[in-house]
Amino acid sequence: MLHVCGEIDMASAPQLRQEVVGLVDRGEPDLVLDLTEVAFCDSTGIGVIVAAVKRARTSGGEVRVVCVNERLLEMFAITRLDRVFDLFEAVDDAVAPTSTREVI
């Protein structure tokens, strides 16, 4: 599980990418990415999430993205990525997949 907070942009994305991809590669292909505390995220940040999902699926896993921020949900919708991977309303939903509920 990775809680991300603050702003994800070109300045902070490289570090986040390293962390996320590192976690998946070190055997956590079923990663929960908690974006609840993210104050700002642009397309560079979205790119990091895409990279994580791809990496995880290659290892047979899945990244579960937790997100309530309306702006971020909108961005996932505009980029159609809400169809590419699942978005969860709360960490609990993402952790216990049998009881999950999709947001969009």
């Binding site: 942009d9 505009i78 169809r83 590419v84």
Partner: protein, 147 residues
């Protein structure tokens, strides 16, 4: 764009200045009381995308030149122009993103910036050439077409 009525900002082409650009755009936009928080946020994100592309274009050339951001508060609109001295590009020849159902879609970590700008801003204009690119992002402060 009225060159004298607005705010002009010049930054080094480094990503650490993105947060500053966002602060300037949000503060300038907030000077117009007609603009709600949602629209300010739209503009802030769109300008952040355009500035990210501008910074990347300088990095590709190893250029140490600066990037200019102009905010103009018009009667019925806020217009922000982001200008770089990169080598330009052809907006019409960018490959479209694969549909979300295509497994290939995950190969595309990039290419989201321009589509986002076009959705977030009410107008997006791109002037680009070998000397650089100027992206204009407009958000209306009053409903358009009512005059």
């Amino acid at each position: 764009m009225d060159a004298d009525g607005g705010v002009e900002l010049e930054i080094p082409a480094h990503s650490e200045f993105l947060s500053l650009v966002r602060a300037v755009v949000a503060t300038a936009a907030a000077l117009d009381p007609r603009l709600g928080d949602e629209r300010i946020e739209d503009l802030r994100l769109a300008v952040s995308e355009a500035t990210t592309n501008a910074i990347e274009s300088h990095a590709q050339l190893g250029s140490e030149e600066r990037i200019a951001i102009r905010c103009d508060l018009g009667d019925d609109r806020i217009e922000v122009e982001v200008q770089d001295h990169g080598e330009g590009f052809d907006p019409d020849s960018l490959a479209p993103l694969p549909p979300p159902t295509d497994p290939e879609r995950l190969e595309y970590e990039h290419g989201l910036g321009l589509p986002l700008m076009r959705v977030l801003a009410d107008e997006t204009r791109i002037r680009t050439g070998a000397d650089g690119t100027a992206v204009s992002l407009v958000v209306y402060t009053t409903p358009p077409g009512r005059s």
